[in-house]
Amino acid sequence: MSNVFIALQNNEETRPIIEAILADNPGSARSDAPGMVRVDAADRLVIRRETIEAQTGQPFDLQYLHVNLISLTGYIDEDDDQLTLSWSH
């Protein structure tokens, strides 16, 4: 099993996203660098639209992630409801 990670800018738009990621991925770990938050997970990391929307009470388009994205690893599988990073096929 290999780690996957996602790094986002640290701002008000990403705060609920990061909280949602941590909630949806038990065992994931957050680390902070200047201006940047990185979340690491073992093997698989999922970002769910519904969890983000529950945080903010507003509709969220997952593709809006592109605006604040810094880096990621693993293979991506994305649809309207969730984005998954993993090394599995």
């Binding site: 290999s2 780690n3 996957v4 990670f5 790094a7 800018q9 660098a33 200047p34 201006g35 940047m36 593709q63 809006y64 592109h66 605006v67 604040n68 994205l69 810094i70 880096s71 990621l72 690893t73 693993g74 293979y75 991506i76 599988d77 994305e78 649809d79 309207d80 090394w87």
Partner: protein, 516 residues
Amino acid sequence: MDMQVKKKLGLKDRYALMTRDLGWDTTYQPMEKVFPYDRYEGIKIHDWDKWEDPFRLTMDAYWKYQGEKEKKLYAVMEAFAQNNGHLGVTDARYLNAIKLFIQGVSPLEYYAHRGFAHAGRHFSGVGARVACQMQSIDELRHFQTQVHTISNYNKHYNGMHSFRHMFDRVWYLSVPKSFFEDALSAGPFEFLTSVSFSFEYVLTNLLFVPFMSGAAYNGDMATVTFGFSAQSDESRHMTLGLECIKFMLEQDPDNVPIVQAWMDKWFWRGYRLLTLVGMMMDYMLPKRVMSWAEAWEIYVEQNGGALFKDLARYGIRPPKGLAQATADKHHITHQAWGTFYNYAAAAPFHTWIPEKDEMEWLSAKYPDTFDKHYRPRLEHWREQDAAGNRFYNKTLPMLCNTCQIPMLFTEPGDPTKICYRESDYLGDKFHFCSDGCKEIFDHEPAKYAQSWLPVHQIYQGNCFPEGTDPTKEGFEPLPAVLDYYGMNFGRDNLDFNVSEDKRNFEQWRGPSSSNT
């Protein structure tokens, strides 16, 4: 009867309709004549429909999010300029990292813009074409936003005024220039392997993340903002690189050895290029983020390790030079800074000897190498400088014919001995800094025999302003070369401690932080 009407198409359907569905096969001319380049490298593609763009970004969504990013960025840039943001950086030494960036990195963004426009035109698969088209526009945006951001620094500090002119002429800038021209003059699949995969996927985290975190640590809000704005596109670029590799490997087993050879070559080319970034991290940031060795461990050994573990199922092994590069992580930045310290008269940015606490940091980060091999030399230079003998090397260095870096790297396992390699080709001798660079040459000698090596060009008399007569009595070559570079002697070059930048910064910052 099922009366359910789907209100909106899902992401996957939208993507299919708005990218794949826009392509067609030509009929007036055969496809292989319209797309001549996507076959000649030997890569065999049987089914372009297997190409996946995992982000499934369509052109309309692309413009929407890019517009959003620009609006955010330009608001910050304006605030930065209006509030004299340049005086908020840690100290004026930091500005030299910005100089290195605008001189050596921003022009690469423009090259990438051209390269992806070309690759996008020449792939016959629609998915790859759309991804390349977006990336081409991204790269142009990066170049423009970097120039706009840094133009504010250029109003106040030296060395940034002629970056584009310098890029085609100045000795160390031939390192990034030749790297990218090597990639641009390859076929489209090799281009994607070099730039999208080796550089963007495996190595880009080493370029942008430390540079931008470095900017954040050092109070440079403008650079952080353009950096993060550019980096937000980078995830898409990395994904393109990984997808391209996976696609080639899955299409035909005959592609595997070709891709492996490209990975070996471009890993080494990219690694050599990043020596400049490592040097910036370890020596040029007044407040350090992490050492080069630490960044190498996180981004290459750990993240790269996971990637190559995954690619092993196609029969791909980690790049050949990886073990060597990993062993060298304790040395190369010190060796590079020593060289730039030497050549401070010939480079349009300033160098200096690290302060005492910075030496302590270096020795803590490099416990096995810094005190033993590199501290004594820096201390010697500091003593010489204090005695009025600041060392400026006035001879020209021998360059590696492949990476074009001066021969400053040492033998594997022996940091006291400079590494030299050579090859014969068409009756000439060619010189290299490493086995990695020699092997690249030996594989394509006809290409690298044409290298425009700045030192050779100076000796051949090709780097003086027009009308210069080098046979005139009392002719001084160095000033003539610097004139050709577009450098202002005494302002753009020499030691930081005697620089106009240092004087100005102190003079301007004083009043901005006190009530005088």
